[in-house]
């Protein structure tokens, strides 16, 4: 039993954090709210250069050949920085799914290099596809099989998210235009678990960021002659957020390990992680806004970037209720 990351894993995490501090500050995220693509100029290429995009691709495809345990730390950082791209869909789901199936090697190569973006739409992940209009390829589910579709061949109807940097689309496609990736239900199940895990890691990152900025704000903001954060009610609000994160985070790591090692209870553990991470970020959003007061309620203040991402991610790839139901089924409670 060794529940710790290696120094290499932590250093990679730190390097990604440095990159995102530099290339994905709040001002850059804001640009993605209003620009045409919903993406940050140049960020995708830098993530590719660093090896993040191809982290889970085999080395012979130009990837790093790493796994979910390496990935979750990076997706937590993506959550902290509110990276607007369909990073988890591309990196955590599409590339390993195509690689596992041994199909579309050219797409994998291009995805690893960052030349293209591949997004994902699975039935259980939600009704819309993130970045559908911006992506080059879409990995889509139909009848429990997975198919790869060129974006140009799909019919995409844009849908507005509360988070304007989440460019959602309702996607229709014809099977004639699609390439079968896998009709093995285990591939579909694994793809969903990877996506839910990635969303959970991002939820934890968003929650941590909300906590950090709120702690800083209430320590500095004074009312009644003392910091707002000196009030016990504020302290307990934020202690509760810290508690939710403290116990959700190990479940995300443990679920990552379960996927990486093909553990028996993999899907149950992923659902525990996503349920707890969704609840944590939901609480973090509520308390962060309440502890900020009116200033957090404006679009000029950066808090909204994480609030809206948090609300969206809490529900994306299955909300906490759906995942608890999966846990209940695994425990044969219902």
């Amino acid at each position: 039993m060794d529940f710790s990351f290696t120094d290499d894993q932590l250093q990679f995490r730190d390097a990604v954090r440095t990159l995102l501090d530099d290339r994905c500050p709040p001002a850059a995220v804001r640009s993605a709210w209003t620009n045409e693509t919903g993406r940050i100029e140049g960020l995708w290429a830098r993530l590719a250069d660093m090896g993040v995009l191809g982290l889970m691709a085999p080395e012979e495809r130009g990837g790093l050949g790493m796994g979910e345990v390496d990935l979750v730390l990076l997706l937590e950082e993506a959550g902290r920085a509110a990276v607007p791209d369909p990073l988890l869909e591309h990196t955590a789901v599409a590339i390993p799914t195509l690689s596992d199936a041994g199909v579309c090697a050219d797409v994998v190569d291009a995805a690893v290099s960052g030349a293209v973006t591949v997004t994902v739409g699975l039935a259980d992940a939600g009704p819309y596809v993130l970045g559908a209009e911006q992506a080059d390829h879409l990995l889509l589910e139909r009848h429990a099989s997975l198919h790869l579709v060129d974006a140009a061949a799909a019919t995409i109807t844009p849908v507005s998210s509360v988070d304007d940097s989440r460019r959602l689309g309702r996607v229709e496609f014809a099977l004639d235009d699609a390439q079968l990736v896998s009709d093995d239900p285990r591939a579909r199940s694994l793809a969903f678990d990877r996506g839910a895990l990635g969303a959970a890691a991002q939820c934890v990152g968003v929650a941590q960021q909300l906590l950090d900025v709120t702690v800083a704000y209430v320590a500095e903001r004074h009312q009644f002659g003392r910091p707002v954060g000196a009030n016990q009610a504020v302290k307990h609000h934020l202690a509760n957020v810290a508690l939710a994160i403290e116990f959700a985070r190990p479940m995300v790591y443990e679920a990552a390990w379960c996927i990486a090692t093909g553990a028996e209870h993999r899907s149950r553990e992923v659902s525990v992680a996503k349920a707890m991470a969704s609840d944590a970020v939901d609480l973090a959003c509520r308390r962060a806004l309440q502890c900020h007061g009116a200033i957090g309620y404006t679009i000029e203040y950066d808090l909204q970037l994480w609030l809206k991402r948090g609300w969206a991610l809490a529900a994306a790839w299955g909300d906490s209720r759906r995942h608890r139901r999966r846990v209940a089924a695994a425990l044969q409670l219902a």
Partner: protein, 384 residues
């Protein structure tokens, strides 16, 4: 105890219900927090006024129909149940209005109340400052006497609809040497006053619903002082009591939201898009809306019998604001992955409603402060 409506109350209910059925706007309006929507909603205020429905509880002299408190609650229930547009002059009618009745001179009544009732003058509230939110008494905007005018300097913020409002009611410090609750005055400022600059600020839903106000030697005539000079705090507390108690948020809006939530659950369940797991939460939210209604009627009965409502108003403010969040959060859970979508497929935009509801525990005194008030002033726990 008689929990039925009287014949008169029933007749009142039937009258407003029939009027709404015949007079509701057929076209959807833009958000009242956009310039265009603001004027559309102002026009609707005039329609209400012309029919005698804009301020039903006010004296006939000022455009009302002198209805009872219970009738006003009925009006609110019918109004929200009908799906009628939001009220763009709420802060004027429900917050400043009662304060004007209590503290205004006859001249002020005549000057301000009819134009408020008709929607000719829409009001905004400007109390908070960048460094004075919960701690309102620390405010630093000054108003210095110069003959029969006050010269106002300072900054106000989080002024809802303040960018386009015709008039603004403020609290300012008229005694320059004063501290805290002393030396404050309640001032009514024209939106187009010289020396007043207004900057729209985007609210969480993206609409420019807030304004920052910058007063730079802004001259306001002394006739616009409400209450005595230096009495601003006690006048403001009357407004705050209206804000927390019955006036701002009658049960009608939450009953309507609870009914919409129940309908959403039935619709999703019927279409197979939702299961029964959230039934308990929908029932719970509906029950609370219902309890808010009956608690309100109980308070109204006490008031009609000559009783008063003081710190108990904090019960209502905490309850309706958290109920509103619960109603919308439950709807979002029902919608699942559709929840993040604005202008989604389920008619009403629950996410926008959620964003609006989340402000409830913050404005009109944060719920943390309301709970302090309940503990200290209602239960009698020690302050320190």
């Amino acid at each position: 105890m008689d929990l039925t409506f009287s014949a008169g109350e029933l007749a009142f209910r039937d009258e407003i219900r029939a009027w709404l059925a015949s007079n509701l706007p057929t076209e959807a309006m833009a958000s009242m927090d956009t310039p265009a929507g603001f004027e559309q909603h102002r026009a609707w205020e005039r329609v209400l006024f012309d029919a005698g429905w804009s301020v039903p509880s006010w004296p006939r002299l000022f455009g009302g129909r002198e209805c009872s408190l219970v009738e006003w609650l009925i009006f609110e229930e019918e109004y929200y149940a009908s799906g009628a547009p939001g009220r763009v002059n709420t802060n004027g009618i429900t917050l400043l209005g009662p304060t004007l009745f209590a503290f205004g001179t006859d001249e002020q009544h005549e000057r301000f109340l009819p134009a408020m009732a008709s929607g000719d003058e829409i009001w905004a509230q400007a109390w908070s400052e960048p460094d004075s939110g919960s701690d309102l008494a620390s405010l630093s905007t000054t108003a210095v006497r110069d003959g029969d005018h006050f010269v106002v300097n300072g900054q106000k913020t989080w002024c809802s609809r303040g960018a386009w409002a015709d008039w603004i009611f403020c609290i300012v410090r008229t005694d320059p040497g004063s501290e805290r609750h002393a030396g404050l005055s309640y001032l009514l400022v024209p939106g187009d006053a010289a020396g007043l600059t207004r900057r729209p600020v985007g609210r969480l839903d993206g609409e420019p619903a807030f304004a920052e106000l910058f007063f730079d030697d802004c001259r306001v005539h002394e006739s616009n002082l409400l209450g005595g000079e230096g009495d601003g705090w006690s006048v403001a507390m009357a407004t705050a009591s209206s804000e927390r108690g019955l006036n701002l948020r009658a049960p009608g809006r939450f009953l309507a939201a609870a009914d919409r939530l129940a309908a959403l659950q039935r619709r999703l369940a019927a279409s197979g898009a939702a299961d029964d797991e959230l039934t308990d939460q929908v029932a719970s939210a509906w029950m609370k809306a219902h309890a808010y209604r009956w608690q309100t009627y109980q308070v109204a009965s006490r008031l009609q019998a000559g009783g008063t409502i003081g710190s108990e108003a904090s019960f209502m403010k905490v309850f309706w604001s958290e109920l509103d969040v619960e109603l919308h959060a439950t709807a979002l859970r029902l919608l699942g992955g559709d929840g993040e979508v604005v202008d989604g497929p389920h008619g009403r935009d629950w996410m926008s409603g959620y964003l609006f509801a989340l402000a409830g525990p913050i404005y009109a005194g944060t719920n943390e402060i309301q709970r302090n008030i309940i503990a200290e002033r209602v239960l009698g726990l020690p302050r320190k």
